[in-house]
């Protein structure tokens, strides 16, 4: 359960200060599939950083599973990210010289899980993300874009997070591969009840979600619950 209450974020760049978020509030229940949409400069990246515990809001509260994380220190935020958040990035961010399984098991390294269990959990996550077993021991730079993004999704799943945050996950993929990746998210949402927040500026991508939050100029302008395409 995610609760955002009138959060603001102001960036001080010397003389000028810029308000990226001007009091945004919403709630996301467990198992929801939400797309956050908006043009560039709307504050959606800032919102994603705060939702992903990479940054803290200037004011307002952010409750994640009932815990207010809005004033946490760097190391406390790292713990939140480790235990409750899974990231999927536009540019994948896999370690190029490491195998697929090693990439997926990386978050468990920081959770202090032992080697054997890391491997078995990584394999399970890869299965859930829909990657064929023949690729598990490949180096990540030997895979295609769609396969790479599924490895990244598996990495986001492996620590069993409360929330999967996907930042323009199809931005670097062609539309056919993008469809496959979005299909993977939908499957995870429907079959495993994963909470997914998708940040995008593409209308077509947002159509896959069952709820769309529109941001503009740092404010929430629309919140639509709909039947996904």
């Amino acid at each position: 359960m995610i609760e955002v209450r009138t959060i603001t974020k102001t960036y001080d760049t010397g003389a000028v200060s810029f308000q990226a978020l001007k009091g945004v509030s919403f709630t996301v229940r467990d198992g929801e599939y939400v797309a956050i949409m908006g043009p560039s400069g709307s504050g959606k990246s800032t919102l994603m950083h705060i939702l992903g515990a990479l940054d803290t809001p200037t004011s307002g509260t952010y409750l994640l599973d009932g815990k207010d994380v809005s004033q946490f220190s760097d190391d406390e935020l790292a713990d939140i990210r480790k235990n409750k958040i899974g990231f999927v990035f536009q540019s994948f961010n896999l370690l190029p010289r490491a195998t697929v399984v090693r990439n997926v098991s990386l978050p468990l390294l920081y959770a202090g899980v032992n080697g054997e269990e890391r491997m078995s959990r990584a394999r399970r996550a890869l299965g859930a993300a829909g990657l064929d077993e023949e690729h598990f021991e490949h180096l990540s730079n030997q895979l295609s874009g769609g396969q790479i993004q599924r490895v990244a999704i598996a990495r986001a799943l492996v620590n069993n997070p409360t929330l999967i945050l996907a930042d323009e996950p199809t931005g670097n993929l062609d539309s056919a591969t993008g469809e496959v990746v979005l299909g993977t998210f939908r499957k995870l949402n429907r079959e495993q009840g994963r909470t997914i927040i998708l940040i995008t500026h593409e209308h077509d991508v947002a159509q896959h979600a069952e709820r769309i939050i529109f941001l503009k100029d740092g404010m929430l302008v629309d919140d639509v619950i709909r039947k996904p395409a």
């Binding site: 992903g52 990479l54 790292a78 713990d79 990210r81 978050p107 920081y110 080697g115 620590n159």
Partner: protein
Amino acid sequence: MRISDTLQETYVALSANKVRSGLTMLGIVIGISSVIAMVAIGQGAQSSIKANIQAIGSNLVMVMPGAQRGPGFQVSAGRGSARTLTQGDADAIAQGVVLASAVAPELSGRYQVTAKGANTNTSVVGTVSAYPQVRNVQVETGSFITDQNVQSLSKVAVLGPTTRDDLFGEGAEAIGQAIRIKNIEFKVIGITKEKGGTGFGSQDDTIFVPLSSAQRFLAGETYVSTISVQAQDEEFMTTIQQEITDLLLTRHTITDPQLADFNVLNQADIVATASSITETFTILLGAVAGISLLVGGIGIMNMMLTTVTERTKEIGLRKAIGAKRRDISMQFLAEAVALTFIGGVAGVALGWVVSWGFTYLGVLQTTVTASSVLLAFGVSAGIGVVFGYYPARRASRLNPIEALRYE
């Protein structure tokens, strides 16, 4: 993060860039090995010089002639030129200085020596029966010069093994044979044991004859060139040195010790002086080697800073998936320490091989001490921590959002 996982991550990161890791490590290898080798060589030189000084005798106080001065003139004819020491001085020391266990005056010179057509030019030492005891000379075969020989001006000679080899051939039986020194015939009565060493002239290439014979037949003078005095114990050496000085000043009727026509040298002083010189050299060599170690350390820091910049995006990712500052700084610190530690191990091995090479080639008897090895390990690991700390800290403080955006 577990320690075994940190080690594995370190291995993966370092082996990803083998050439760069290897070259960086080479800096440490050279630094550590030169510290090990230089210190071993310095200590080897020190013990070899000490051994050479000890080889001329133990607990030795030596009286040498000083500068000859004319009465009333401040004209010096140079140290060692005075011909003022006599047999009488030696006898007076033997009687007057009770702490001395033996006194051996000598008169040495270089002469042409022939035997059966072979000839050589070597040092001939005229001395007395106490000489072997005082100067650590041992007789291999035959006997040394006796008091009887000295009293009766016997024309007998004791050869050093090198001189024997030169005159009669290697290992030949020489006792009973005749040699001619300055064309005067001497009969060989003994051969001394090989001492080796080079320090103050090899005692293996020497001929010993009775002091009286050397004065009468060879030098034609009555002075002696050195009086060697052995102390009963090391602790009496300074006392003996003082007693001899006082005694000789009185005998030579000199009131101002500054104008003494002799020098009294204490072996302990010589050892201490030589030791302090070699110690300074060891420190100097070690310092030069230490500088190369420092340069190696800076190489580590340079590489780690490059690595941190190159892997900014990876650091951002690691932070995004839950790595704390400590996890990141530990990872980079571990990489730096691994480089210096492995470099240290290789450096100790290389330094040991170099020192061993010096010993093997007979240049110098070197000693690699456990303390210098331990020190090298400590220093190399320490360098990893010192020069890895700043890059690791920089990595750990990266903002994950900016690091992820880094291209």
